[in-house]
């Protein structure tokens, strides 16, 4: 009955109320401290929970309402390594962005800090909760705080449109999830994940189970921005302030993926287990489409934050493929990808904040060559790009290799190559932007890229060294992820525990505690030659894409003509789909859900 599980949620909430209550009394210099202290304390507590979950799964029943002979009465938090890892990632990124924005956010800073703490509580709650409706409440809390934060720079139309698209699409997603929860409650009479999974085990796969599964997965796919539900993400991340984007990109999109894995393994694995092929194929198709489409769109952007937003979507697609393989190694790989990508992308968005403070704008072409004044930032940008690409033993390499191994195991030989191409293209887009800004390569203008409105300028008072230090720290953690000894065995072990529904039910409903062996031996990941090959391949493709982006003019005219004739219609078509009008986005959500639901209706019903 570990009450420590309540703190990652209760502490930020009480802290947010405290910050809102006492802000008028604190002297100016000290105003920032309470929020940062609370976020740091939450990070420490989440890390303690993560370490303790290595030994055993922790459970806490709120209000003291323990289950009575197998019937859950109250709401329970169940902490497993993956969930605790997600909560720790969220807390670390919120702390980093609060320190980064020490004087970066000068308009209504009190409201900004309150919303960041509430946002942290929402993510921690979603990662730890063992109750389906409680997860919806944290999903909504995370959403409400995020909508306001996205619309922070409210005096320009861009942020308002971004925040509106974000709010409306995610609210529709939340309603899909709620409808799915109501259906499940009708079929099982339970809201506790373990209880629903247990009751649903005996339930035949009928229309209700299939559509509830579709609605829940579609709602979470909207939150993690998989194609065709991804349109809102680029609009929202391109306009939110840099520290807010760091937390959005680093943790919020991944929370959606975590929800999909949690729901499938704990609730739906029972009834849908025998038909797992159909689920795997649909999620793989969505994952690959997301990775490829977003990588291409990233290449077509010149506004740095919009470019990074599309790379976020592309990486969500890759992690979704890891989850979609529905296999322990792949799930461990996806968890690694999520954690390493989370830190690196947060670092890149913070780097955009530094660029914005220094040069008043984030337009890649306008910043050409001006980055030479910040060599450290240039080095960080290159390091981050290499880390995202999954170069051997750097950044997300461990995650990529685990997913590749699992794909080969499941006879999906073509998957690693596809993911390599997608990673390469999105990495190439980042490299191209970095090379043009920090090294001055490439032409001054590029017709392929679109013109974007100027960015709002932060105050000069933000201290440059502090911002650079935070950016360096965050990127360093992300890049060094593959070198953490024994991480491979730990993540596979954690993935196995995550998938083991029977032990989960015994632990939560019947209190049967099972302790797990000592942590894995300390050994650095022995990569298979195939995964090293894919890592190097991705690096090469990234370099080639960046080169193509910068020096397209040097190609012989003939190939350029053929390229334009062949590529132009599809590129324009793809770009035309992103209309920026929220009615179209919700239509795409409906179309996507209807298609996925239709496929599963035909294949899953026993």
């Amino acid at each position: 009955m570990s009450t420590i599980l309540a703190f990652p949620v209760a502490l930020p909430l009480a802290g947010a109320a405290f910050v809102a209550f006492t802000d008028g009394w604190l002297p100016d210099r000290v105003k920032e401290l309470p929020a940062i202290a609370i976020a740091a304390a939450t990070t420490v507590i989440s890390t303690i929970i993560l370490v303790r979950t290595e030994r055993m799964t922790l459970v806490h029943w709120f209000g003291g309402w323990e289950p009575r002979h197998g019937l859950a009465l109250g709401i329970g938090f169940v902490a497993e390594p993956l969930g605790a890892g997600m909560a720790t990632l969220a807390a670390a990124l919120v702390t980093a962005s609060l320190v980064f924005s020490w004087r970066y956010m000068t308009e209504a800073p009190r409201l900004y800090r309150v919303l960041m703490l509430v946002f942290l509580a929402g993510m921690s709650g979603f990662a730890l909760s063992g109750d389906l409706f409680n997860m919806f409440v944290w999903f909504e809390l995370m959403g409400v705080a995020a909508y306001a934060l996205a619309g922070y720079a409210v005096e320009r139309l861009g942020p308002i449109q971004g925040a509106l698209n974000f709010a409306i699409t995610n609210t529709v997603a939340a309603l899909f999830i709620l409808f799915g929860i109501a259906l499940l409650y009708g079929a099982t009479g339970a809201l506790n994940l373990a209880q629903i999974g247990r009751t649903l085990g005996g339930h035949s796969v009928d229309g209700l189970v299939v559509v509830a599964f579709t609605l829940l997965i579609a709602g979470l796919l909207v939150k993690s921005a998989a194609v065709p539900f991804h349109f809102w993400l680029a609009d929202a991340y391109a306009v939110a302030p840099a520290p807010v984007c760091a937390v959005f990109a680093g943790a919020m999109s991944e929370v959606g993926l975590f929800g999909i894995a949690r729901l499938y393994w704990t609730v739906f694995d029972g009834p849908i287990g025998p038909h797992v092929g159909a689920v795997r194929d649909v999620l793989l198709a969505v994952g690959i489409a997301t990775a490829i489409v977003a990588a291409v769109m990233a290449f077509l952007q010149r506004h740095l934050k919009r470019l990074l937003a599309y790379t976020v979507i592309s990486h969500v697609g890759i992690a979704l493929c890891g989850i979609a393989l529905l296999d322990a190694t792949a799930l461990g790989g996806a968890a690694n990808l999520v954690l390493s990508h989370g830190f690196i992308k947060a670092g890149l968005f913070l780097a955009c904040g530094v660029l914005l403070r220094e040069f008043r704008g984030l337009d890649e072409l306008a910043l050409r060559g001006r980055g030479r004044a910040l060599p450290l930032l240039g080095a960080l940008w290159l390091l981050a790009a290499v880390g995202l690409v999954g170069f051997p033993y750097v950044g997300s390499f461990l995650g990529h290799s685990l997913v590749d191994d699992a794909a080969i195991e499941h006879a999906h030989r073509w998957l690693p190559a596809t993911l390599m191409v997608a990673t390469g293209v999105s990495g190439g887009a980042i490299l191209r932007a970095g090379a043009r800004i920090f090294l001055g390569w490439g032409p001054r203008d590029d017709p392929l890229l679109r013109e974007e409105p100027p960015e709002e300028v932060p105050e000069e008072t933000a201290s440059m060294p502090a911002m650079l230090a935070i950016t360096t720290g965050v990127i360093a953690i992300g890049v060094g992820f593959s070198l953490i000894p024994g991480l491979e065995d730990r993540s596979e072990h954690a993935a196995d525990r995550f998938r083991d529904q029977h032990t989960y039910v015994d632990r939560t409903l019947f209190g049967k505690v099972r302790t797990y062996g000592p942590s894995a031996p300390v050994v650095i990941h022995r990569a298979t030659p195939a995964s090293i090959g894919y890592g190097l391949g991705a690096g090469l493709i990234a370099a080639a894409t960046a080169g193509f982006g910068l020096y397209r003019r040097r190609l012989p005219a003939g190939t350029r003509q053929a390229g334009r004739r062949w590529l132009e219609p599809s590129v324009d078509g793809l770009r035309a789909l992103h209309t920026g009008v929220v009615g179209d986005y919700v239509m795409w959500i409906t179309v996507g859900t209807a298609v996925i639901g239709g496929i599963w209706a035909l294949t899953l019903v026993s």
Partner: protein, 243 residues
């Protein structure tokens, strides 16, 4: 549009196909609800089971719900912070009968709101419903009196402190629950006797914390929107800043 029509029809078909799988209407037979109905009075001495479910069995949902309201009102003040100076027009309601009857109505609605909050765990009602009614009473001051009375009666910062106090109190009461009852949001006061105001342990405290927070939050929300409404049309044009 045709694409959407087909997809929309497909989506509707899926929804109605799922609803067929639900047990027949009126035949709720699950142990969860029946168990909560059975143990509400014996173990918590409370007669309104929905109120006890909201504040005790599933108290964490209500904590999240309070902070959703708190965060959205903070978000609205963040989004609408950009406006020029306060503009308080002299638009008093001049007809005396309305003012007199209005004053009576305000007091009645206020007392009704307090009553609905107080008996939240005994009869239908509760912190949220009563809180909104109380906020309605404050709004009625504007409707029958005028914006000047409303504005002077409800200065902005104490309201935001009350809102933060209500939400924070709910979270802090949860921590007190750990100290006394061993679990976050645990019930820690004596249970009193069912059917009376003094019953159901610490639920009344949570109930009143919610009421304060909801009332203050909604009044802040109304003030934000009324402040925008009161701006003269001239000042409601975009500054000449970047479009």
């Amino acid at each position: 549009m045709i694409g959407f029509a087909i997809a929309g029809a497909g989506f509707a078909a899926l929804v109605f196909w799922a609803l067929v799988g639900l047990p027949d209407f009126g035949h709720y037979h699950w142990p969860y609800g029946n168990a909560l109905n059975a143990i509400a009075t014996p173990e918590r001495h409370a007669t309104n089971v929905v109120g006890i479910t909201v504040f005790d069995y599933r108290g964490l949902d209500t904590l999240g719900e309070e902070f959703i309201l708190f965060a959205s009102v903070v978000g609205v003040s963040l989004l609408l912070r950009k406006d020029p100076e306060e503009h308080v027009p002299a638009d008093e309601v001049r007809s005396d009968p309305i003012r007199a009857l209005g004053a009576v109505a305000v007091v009645l609605l206020f007392v009704l709101g307090l009553w609905v909050v107080a008996f939240g765990y005994v009869t239908p009602g509760g912190g949220f419903q009563g809180g909104v009614a109380l906020a309605g009473a404050f709004l009625l001051v504007y409707v029958v009196g005028g914006y000047r009375q409303y504005h002077s009666l409800l200065p902005h910062s104490p309201l935001e402190m009350a809102e933060a106090f209500g939400a924070g109190a709910f979270a802090i009461l949860g921590f007190v629950g750990i100290v006394y009852a061993g679990a976050y949001l645990g019930n820690f006061l004596g249970l009193g006797n069912a059917g009376s105001l003094y019953s159901a342990g610490s639920v009344p405290l949570l109930n009143w914390a919610t009421a304060i927070e909801v009332c203050a939050a909604l009044v802040v929300l109304f003030s934000e929107f009324l402040k925008i409404y009161m701006l003269p049309a001239a000042s409601w044009t975009p500054e000449e800043g970047p479009r």
